[in-house]
Structure formats: structure tokens, C-alpha cells
Amino acid sequence: MTRITIDPITRIEGHLRIDCEVDGGRVKKAWASGQMWRGVEQILIGRDPRDAWAITQRICGVCTTVHAMASVRAVENALDLEIPVNAQYIRNIIILAHAVHDHIVHFYHLSALDWVDVTSALKGDPAKTAQLAESLSTWKGNSKHEFAQVKDRLAGFVGTGQLGIFTNGYWGHPAMKLPPDVNLLAVAHYLQALEVQRKANKIVSILGSKTPHIQNVAVGGVANPIALDSQSVLTVERLMAIKGWIDELADFVKNVYLVDVAAIGAFYADWLGHGAGITNYLSVPDIPLDGKGTKFALPGGHVPAGDPAKFKAVSRFGDPFFEDNVAESVKHAWYKGGKGALHPYKGETDPQYTDFQDNGKYSWVKSPTFQGQPAQVGPLARVLAMVGAGHKPTINTLNRVLDTAGAIAKTKIPVAALHSTIGRHAARAVSCAVQVDELANQWKLLVDNIAKGDTTTFNKPVFPKGEVSGVGFHEAPRGVLSHWVVINDGKIVNYQAVVPTTWNAAPRNEKDEPGPYEASLLNNPVADPERPLEVLRTVHSFDPCLACAVHITDADGRDAIAVATDGCGTSFCA
């Protein structure tokens, strides 16, 4: 029995440690542990609820905007405040552009190198790579000339001894299976993705006034004045620039990202059998189409037992089906407990640190449940819910990915194969393609509404005497994000943020059941405990918000060897 510890090195939100017991080349037991107390909620108590979004978007790095959105929605829900539809459309465009950015970066820059061997790409043949690429897609960047250039650039880069961002990859690992031509294709798209992701960032910065850390959100709407004839506000020129970037993003996502996921997934078809874990899925609807949040472009809800046919929708902001069924246990977390799982409005965050106790307390992350059960959140939960809801664009996109992968692997791949490590990547790409189309749609809705003469973007909030409470939910890139606020006489008296990584990185719950990361790692292969690439593949497939290095710890808990990992070098959360 070998114990592997994947340990954090940062204290940004999400700092995760994974422990595995490995026997006979398989993971037999796993623990997920949040290594820092994220007590940001405490900082909000006594503050003006109108300021909470600006503070919560500092919880973490990449997911700044998502916390801003969930926070204003929570306060608006508490006040039963309707916002102008223009404000919804502008928020929706920011949300979707951010999500598209996040998914592209996660796949190409933070996790692809778990599957793609950069050094092998140097042996790729540009002509054969182009032949393969052109058989799969019409993307303009798939020429022989392009691949030859990338190969030269890579050779030059490697020749300088400065592998830089590629330094810490598991090159030559026996679990790396792609042929050199496919590796070259993936590296070329890695570089093209660097260019393309900037377009999404530009959209967020124009509408959000600033990125990172958008400035345009307000309880009651957005602070973007709309005047088509003024230079300083949202003009036709700016709106047209946004449309141009949306089109470029859509081209890349559909003709490159979707195709690459299908192709890489087909070469790693054995990974469709690993990493399922918890198949009780939870998502929420998002992209509201009216001021109150009763109609949504993208459905969400509960998919029990991994079966989209059993889908039950969360139908509106504040839906009691969501609001009443969330609870958090601290039985295995470093907080004082003994009261059982608590609803977030009643949530307590009173630290009680012990050491890492395998069978006791071992994490700063609370263990959330939906209807008393652990739930997996994220793009896979979102896609299965949209399939269950009969959302046509999702079903069509998913079928296209499964058909493409099936044609390459020469076997039929069923929807059920999505309950896996590779399946989470495929679902993320499907989600991204659906979101980029919805992004274009929201842009059109905004432009059409402005053309009707509606330029309202803000309804002033009024805070009542006495106590009100509300939940704001948001289907963030990594899944369900919810902020819970209790307000008394216009001041915050309780605030809890249940972030996606809390759901997925949950420790064991009140009934000692493992959380999604923990469950997904059971029976995961590990060829070489000193280079546990396969464990990282499964953990990274969730897109966890952590920055980590891998330490291989021997039975006595001493560091035997330390291996920095790539693909998880950036801190992400929510």
C-alpha cells in the first residue's frame, strides 16, 4: 500500500490536498482536503449589502465575475427586486463570455498537457497532421504550413532549454498515448487558443468596464448607461466590436475545441471507464430572460442516479426546490459541529482544527448535500440536465461530439460514457459550444431591445426595516454557485457562499459518504506512484480551483520526492 499526497502550495481560495492509498496499481481510498479556511463570509457581516459583490469577487482569481453575479442576485432575491431586462442581457453576455474563456483556457492551457505530450509533437509530420486535421474540420488554422511553423517554433523553444510553461509535464509517461501527429495538432491548437481566449476577455472588459474585477454590476441592475450616440457609453460601435469577437469565438469553439475533445477522447477511450464517482448531479438554470428570473435560456436542475430522464428542473430564482434542499455538514470538516447538517441561512463557521484525521476531521471544506446526498456539479451536471430538459442545441452538440469520437474510435459511444474522466472534458466542450451560441443570442436580444428605445439598466433597491433573506444562484463555469444572505435593517447579518468546488471537493458527509472527487478516484489506475499522472487526470477533469505541486509522501509522512505538476499551475475557483 502506497500513500500519495497531492498537496497545495497556495492559499488562494480552493487550496486542495488529495490523499490516495494505492494498491496493485489502483486507488483504493481517497481523501479531498481543503487546506485553508475561507472565512470571507465573516468579513461581510455588518456591511451594506450593496457592497457585498465588490468584496466577494475578491474571493479568488479567475472566477471574480461569478461571485459578483451570485452576490447581487442573492440581495435582489432577498428584496424581491426585479431588474431591467437590459441589465439581465448585459450580465448574461458577461457571464457567457467569461464561461467560454474559462472553458477554453481550462482545456487547452490547464489540462490538455495531462493527455498531450509536447515533446512527442516534435516528431509529428506537418503534412500528415494537416491531412488528419482537414479530415475532421474546416478550421482555417489547420494547414500544413501552420503545423510546420508550430513545429519549428516549438523546436526553437525547446532548443533554448527554456521549456517554460511546459517544464513540468509528464513527458514520456507510459499513460501518454497520442501519436506524434495528434500531439502536434494539439500543440498548434494550444497556441491558437491563446490568441482566441483574448477575444472573450475583451468582451468582459468592455461591458464590465474593467477586467479582472468587473465594475459595472449593481444591486438592481448594471451601471452601463446605454446611449447609441455618445462616445463614453455603450455605443453601436462597441456593440459591433463585441459581435465580431463572439463570431471568432464561435468559429474556434465549434471547429477546433469540440473536434479536439472528440479526437483526444477517442484515443483515450479507456478513460471512459474511469472517474465516474458521484452520479447524482446538480445544476441551476441560468441566463435569465426576464427581470425576475422566471424564464431562462439554459435549463438546470437535479439529475439523480445519472439518468437525464429523471431530470427535475429548478425553475426560477428562489425556487424552494433548490433553496430548501441544500445543507452542509461539518462532521469531517474543521469546524465545531454536532448539530447535523445545517441549512446555509443557519450556517455556522466556527473553526475547530484537529490534525488530518483519516476517519475524523480532515478538511476546511464543508460537505454540502442536496436532499441529503452528495452531488456532482459542473459542465457534466449542466449538460445532463439540459439533455433531460430537452434543450435541442445541447442534444445536437452532444450527438455531434459522440459521433465524431465514435467514428475515430470505430465504436458507438453512448451518453452513459459521459460519467467518466474524459466525459467531463467532453461535457465542458459541449457546454462551451452551447454557451457561445447563447452568447450571440443574448447580444441580439440586447441590441433588439435597445432598438425598441429601452435604455433602462437599473432599478433602485430599497431595504426594508427588519429581517429579509435571499439566495442568489449562478451556473458558473465549474458548476452551481450559491450565495446566501440574511439582511437586517439594511445590514448583512449572515452570509454564506457555497462554491462549486465545495460541492465537488467535499469531504465525507454526515453519513460518512465520500464527496465527488473522493468517489471519482476509487479504482483510478496509477502506473507509477512517483508520477501519478492518472490521479491528476481525474482531479483536473473537474477543473478544480487549486494551484498545486505533487509531493509523494512515504508511509511515515515524510516527503520522499516532490514533483511539480503542470496544467494545474494556475489558481482557479468556483
Binding site: 502550495i9 497556495t10 475578491r58 482569481g61 490547464l110 497556441l191 476577455n201 472588459s205 479582472p212 494551484a547
Partner: protein, 179 residues
Amino acid sequence: MDQAPRRIVILGVGNLLLADEGVGVRALELLARDYVFSPEVELVDGGTCGMELLEPLTGADVLIMLDVIRAGKAPGTFIALRGDAVPARLRHKLSPHQVGLSDVLATLILTGEAPRETVIFGVEPESLELSLSLTPRVAACLPALIAATLAELEHYGVQSSPQIHATAPLLASDALTAL
């Protein structure tokens, strides 16, 4: 540097929720409030972001980073890092957000768009506990951070541009109530 830089990015990084962790962002806020810069200078509030900074940092000739730096000195000590000390420091992850930032800079090297020169100005922290306020000893170092940044700009000839005006006296205590 052979020619005057076309684009200078002043990047404040850090987590505002963890007391002195936020000193780089606080210094940036004061620079934005109290000075007007010529168009080649861009102020970026990087927070704790990683790859989101790729776009704002692309094509910068000079990067001036403001940050908290743990170097084992007395809290509130001003620290400047230049030349070879910069990449080495980033690799050693003195500060958590540099994990993401080192990836961003490595990526820019790969795409041939990395800053020609990078300098880091920082302060040794006293407290990284949960708080929106800097400790007094670190807040007292804000004028040194600002002065170093302005001197650096002057080194690149930006001072000759008439657009820089101090518009308000700089009070370190303002940073304590900035948010």
C-alpha cells in the same frame, strides 16, 4: 533598452481580503487616484488572477509589478527586485498569486510577447489574516512604493511627458479606508 518603451504596464497584485496581501492593489489604487499618466502607461489591478492577465500583459515592453514580498525582513520593509532576481523570485512563489502569474509570463515567452523588462516593488508583510485593511507598518510603506514606481517611469523617460501631475497629497491612511 534601445528605444523608449511603447507600453508600460503597472500591475498591482494581491488579495484585498487578506490584510497586507493587498498592498500591491492598494498602491495601484493610489496611483490611479492621484496621478495622470501618458497613454503608454496602463494600470492593471491583477488581484489574484492567473490566465485572465494574459490579455492585459500581452505586448507590454516594461512590466512594473507591485506586490507583497516575503523575504524574511522586518514587516514594512520596501523591497525592489530586478533582472535575474525576478524570474527566480517568481519561481519560488513568495506570494501565492505568483503561481498563476509565472504561468502567464512563461506563456508570453512562448508566444514571443513577454515584457522586455520586469521589475517588482514590494513590501514585507506583517499580517496575512482575514481583513480588508493594511497593517499600519505596511500602509506606511505605500509612499515608498509609489515613489519607486514614479522613479521607474522617469527612468524610461515617461516623466518628461507633461501628462503626469500629482493632483492630491498622498496619505497612507487613505488606503485603509479605500474600499
